[in-house]
């Protein structure tokens, strides 16, 4: 309590500068992230807009010859929507419940260590491996046909580790205070999890799920081996070859005609728009469920 200055003591310049520098860096980081985004979007929109028309959205590629213009991605859009939907229906419940197990029940036991171990390993699996796996078990061993559902299974294998790991992280962030408050009301653990823990972590979980969805919505390799490939519309996800947008983009981009390359860009644009829309819907749901909206 020696030299006490008077007045509002300004903080040292170096601290202020550091604060400013970090602020600048943070803004810069955002700018750095946005630049490639804009560049990618610009490229996709510039090249994709030409064919982004009603025909593209409502027609398949059936009977479109190698030099024909026209044709569309309807069959691929349907396929992607169905495959991603079924993949999510498989992966999200399993992934979420597994995360719940790891955080709430596993408590570092042997099973939970094994699960974490395999989830970790699976985060780096090359996507084609999941396709090979489903091909071997579902198509070759069980004799099931190529189908959208087979593709969904392959995609779900890729989704699961992302869902588990992100949900696990979000569940761990839920303060123990809240669990204790609920337990003390005599609420069973499972209801505590369902009614208190999961809602608290909801936005975070949604973000993780959307990351997983976005990832698999763009996968090509596993689809080749499981949904096969087709130019025709197949609405039935359980039987017969289907198409997917990434497959479509990959195929069209590799062809030697400019009309095909245009279709590839439009397909990419469509795929981005679909994932964007799904993301938007998910965020709206998360926002609508959040207390912030209801409060103040």
């Amino acid at each position: 309590m020696t030299t006490v200055q008077t007045g509002i003591q300004p903080i040292s310049t170096s601290r202020r500068v550091k604060d400013r520098v970090v602020q600048a860096l943070v803004y810069l980081a955002f700018a750095i992230a946005v630049v490639p985004l804009l560049s990618v979007l610009w490229l996709v929109v510039k090249n994709g807009l030409a064919r982004f028309d009603l025909e593209f959205l409502t027609h398949s590629m059936r009977n479109i010859g190698a030099r024909d213009a026209g044709g569309g991605a309807y069959h691929a859009i349907i396929g992607t929507l169905e495959q991603v939907l079924f993949a999510s229906l498989i992966a999200v419940p399993i992934g979420l419940l597994t995360a719940v197990y790891l955080v709430e029940y596993g408590s570092g036991g042997r099973l939970s260590r094994w699960i974490s171990f395999f989830v970790d390993v699976m985060t780096g699996v090359p996507s084609v491996v999941s396709g090979l796996f489903v091909l071997a078990f579902w198509v070759l061993a069980l004799g099931m046909p190529f189908s959208g559902f087979a593709g969904a299974m392959a995609l779900s294998i890729l989704m699961m580790p992302v869902v588990v790991r992100s949900a696990e992280e979000m569940l761990r962030l839920v303060p123990n205070d809240l669990r204790e408050a609920s337990y003390a009301l005599g609420v069973p653990k499972w209801r505590t999890i369902v009614k208190v823990v999961l809602p608290t972590a909801f936005t975070g979980i949604v973000t993780g799920v959307m990351l997983a969805v976005a990832r698999v919505a763009g996968e090509t390799a596993p689809l080749l081996l499981t949904v096969f490939f087709t130019d025709s519309i197949n609405n039935n996800p359980f039987n017969g070859p289907q198409m997917g947008l990434p497959l479509y983009v990959f195929d069209q981009a590799g062809r030697p005609t400019d009309t095909a390359i245009d279709r590839a860009w439009t397909g990419a644009l469509t795929l981005i728009l679909i994932v964007m829309l799904l993301n938007l819907v998910a965020r709206l749901i998360a926002w609508w469920r959040s207390p912030a909206k209801r409060g103040s």
Partner: protein, 258 residues
């Protein structure tokens, strides 16, 4: 129905650290028992062993027996959930559910445990909030989040939440610490009326409050720095405050009034 609680030779640990040691006491039904003692002596810890909340802390464990009437709370078949449903608790730090509205916070225990009609819920929420002396302040904003309340309001909200489920035993860890005298009075009135039917245990640092509301008082103290807390003595409140059996108790009580 009110229940008698018998504790015998109870130790509680946080990991390797023994926080309380060798506690034996009987908590009478339909009475208010007050726990007093210096900070860090293990009052909260002991309170939490009574409804098996202690074991929720990672690495924490309990040795010894707690019996509610004739049942061992730590018996092998006993579900901690039903223990906690029977023995309610108000925490030292208010912890409303941030994702829930004020209404839902109070109704949480009911909702999460069974089906109630909306009007039943409305009734219980209102009576509980009135009991906690919060109704007037929040009746116009029942569907706002519970986190936008002042410290004292949050504490009362947690009290309302705990009494809404009507446990047979109610454990309160410094329920009035953040409350102004008027709310404190209201809570004390609530305690007096609850004790007609329930068994109540209250941790308090406020000697007057202990003297005012409790029938029995237990004094805890640390055996020494870094050593576990112990029960020094427990007796009728009037006796403890006028003629305590132990020197330590007398020192603590007369030391200075909070």
């Amino acid at each position: 129905m009110a229940k008698q609680i018998e504790v015998s030779e109870l130790d509680a640990y946080y990991g390797a650290h023994k926080a309380i040691e060798d506690i034996t006491m009987t908590i009478e039904p339909r009475t208010v028992t007050a726990f007093i003692g210096p900070s860090g002596c293990g009052k909260s810890t002991f309170l939490r062993t009574l409804n098996r909340m202690h074991e929720v802390v990672p690495g924490a464990r309990v040795e010894g027996k707690v019996r509610l009437e004739d049942q061992d709370l730590y018996g092998p078949d006993v579900d901690p959930v039903s223990v906690r449903r029977t023995i309610g608790m108000v925490f030292q730090r208010p912890n409303p559910f941030p994702t829930m509205s004020i209404y839902d916070n109070v109704a949480a225990g009911l909702r999460l445990n069974g089906r109630f009609s909306r009007s039943e819920l409305d009734g219980i929420v209102e009576s509980s909030l009135k009991g906690a002396n919060l109704w007037n302040e929040v009746k116009d904003r029942l569907n706002k989040p519970g986190s936008g309340l002042s410290g004292g309001q949050q504490q009362r909200l947690c009290i309302a939440r705990a009494i809404a489920v009507r446990p047979q035993v109610l454990l309160m860890d410094e329920p009035c610490s953040a409350l102004d005298p008027i709310s404190t009075l209201a809570i004390e009135d609530l305690i007096s009326s609850l004790k007609q039917d329930y068994t109540i245990v209250i941790v308090t640092h406020n000697m007057q409050q202990a003297a005012r509301v409790s029938d029995k008082t237990a004094f805890f103290n640390l055996a020494g720095q870094g050593q576990p807390g112990k029960l020094i003595e427990m007796d009728d409140t009037s006796k403890i405050f006028t003629n305590p059996g132990e020197k330590a108790t007398e020192d603590y009580i007369t030391g200075r009034f909070g």
